[in-house]
């Protein structure tokens, strides 16, 4: 079944089409939510909310991109709204100094399991975590991130820089602890 057909059937209330949509993307959206909020129970609830919204708004899907990326955008917007309402999106002041940490090698990072990488990203402070996910995982530009989060582009760059520095430090510690 193509993305367009699946979306159309979901918009018409077809229960089997909704089950198909759930089977295709629910687990992936769940991992996406964990990346943004850190807590698994909360991530599951947000994933359910996102699926409900996707079922209701399936008629608005346009075949410009894939259905998966459309579902991803719906979920990311919902998660960011939740973080904003729960006041977790506190912007870090630019004056905060960052200790320079040597950047890890790609070979070192490739040795680290996905779950560990997920845990490291989840443990970042909320605003840095969101900017890192939007830039490095979803592929948003700083301009798009600034529009989405209502911050300046310079602030977005600064937050990404700090997130990378903290991740680099965590990766170095993990490698040192596990002898990789």
């Amino acid at each position: 079944m193509t993305d367009v057909e699946l979306a159309r059937l979901c918009a018409n209330g077809d229960e089997s089409a909704r089950k198909e949509l759930y089977t295709r993307y629910a687990a992936w959206l769940y991992a996406l939510c964990i990346r943004y909020v850190g807590d698994r129970e909360l991530a599951r609830d947000l994933m359910h909310d996102a699926m409900i919204k996707i079922f209701d708004c399936a008629g608005k899907y346009q075949p410009h991109g894939s259905l998966k990326s459309w579902c991803s955008r719906v979920t990311v917007n919902l998660v960011i709204d939740h973080l904003r309402k729960s006041r977790q999106m506190d912007v870090v002041p630019l004056e905060e100094s960052v200790t320079t940490v040597p950047q890890p090698d790609t070979e070192e990072v490739e040795k680290i399991p996905k779950e560990e990488l997920l845990r490291m990203v989840s443990q970042l402070p909320p605003t840095k975590r969101v900017v890192f996910n939007l830039y490095c995982v979803e592929g948003y530009s700083h301009k798009e991130i600034s529009a989405l989060l209502n911050i300046k582009e310079k602030t977005s760059s600064s937050l990404l820089f700090k997130a990378r520095a903290q991740l680099a430090e965590n990766i170095k510690e993990y490698i040192k602890r596990n002898g990789l």
């Binding site: 992936w28 599951r44 359910h48 990072v109 490739e110 996905k114 990488l117 990203v121 995982v137 991740l167």
Partner: protein, 404 residues
Amino acid sequence: MMNDWTDIIGEQLSNMSGTLPADDWKVLQQKYSSSRRRARRAAALRWAGRLVAAAAAVLLIIFISLPKENTPQTTLIAEEIPHSHVILPDSCTLSADSCSPAQEDLTSLEENATTAEPATDEPATDEPETDEPETDEPAEEKLSGQKPESADPATEITAEPASEAVSDAASDAVSTVASESGALKRQFEESMEETANANRRKISIGISGAISGTMDMGEKVDMSPGSVTEPADSSYHTKSAASKYKSDGYDHEMPVSFGISARFHLNDVLAVSTGINYTKYESKRTGYKHDRKQSSMQKVHYIGIPVRFDLILAESKNLSLYLGAGIQADKCLWATAWGKTLHEKEVLWSATCAAGLQVNLTPSSSIYLEPELSRALNTGSLQTYRSKENSTVYMRTGIRFTLK
């Protein structure tokens, strides 16, 4: 992309999937069903509000443009003011030097005035019995030394009183009409007083039902554990505080209410109403038993006594518009959850205000629509819809019977 190592992280995380429990699809289906129900209810309330507002506006326009009807208390008594045709009694006495009849004659006339066939316009031809008239005879005699040539004194006297009798009769008629209209006026005032008293004594009995809505249509989940009067079974425990989002969850349904009421009119614009209201609160509760998620329906039944003062803004034969404000006291009759009885000892108070539109179907029965805003003044120990939503809108509708 900036750096390779973050690209690797991005690539690995973007393709990663989580592991969901086996019953996750069922849970999602239940959540979806309840969200659809909430959305439908919210949409229905919004539409009901719009329809009520539109209907009220249309009825108000119709009411204002309707011609005023004669209400019983303003209808004049449709009795013709009688034509008082005076029949001079035989005993009527007149005095030549006076155009007004003697007092005893006037009284006699009042007593004998009738609305029977009009008397003919006969001049007063009855020869009045007169006493010795007072004339200027002595003076004339004095002047001329003779008795003036005059007709029979009786005749002379008769000619003049005849015209006087007509004017006297006319004045008699006027005074009689005045006295009779005074009597009519007294009767009219008494009937108005009686009608006003009837309005004051008007009592109405009503039966109503209500659906409720909330001032905030968003999903409400109780975030606070442990503040509930829990049953003694310790196997149902709340999840540890490590989960920041949700421990013992509540999914509150909107309450429904039924009641009977009695309304007493204090005067034409003010009425007081009281009665008995039954309200039911249902909530779906989730908890953990032996680390397994369980759910149960909490049902709480309240009985309440409202007291409200209504100000009647406009009233016609068919419609009535009013505003009301008052308070209500609710007492929990019984409550159950997890198969056990819960206890709520506190009396719950709330302040209410309402706008009402009553349409009279017959002189003694009517239907009414009352959007009502209820503000909880205290919440009690049980977690219900009321404890989460301080303000609840009820759309109350019912039938009212007027006892006179």
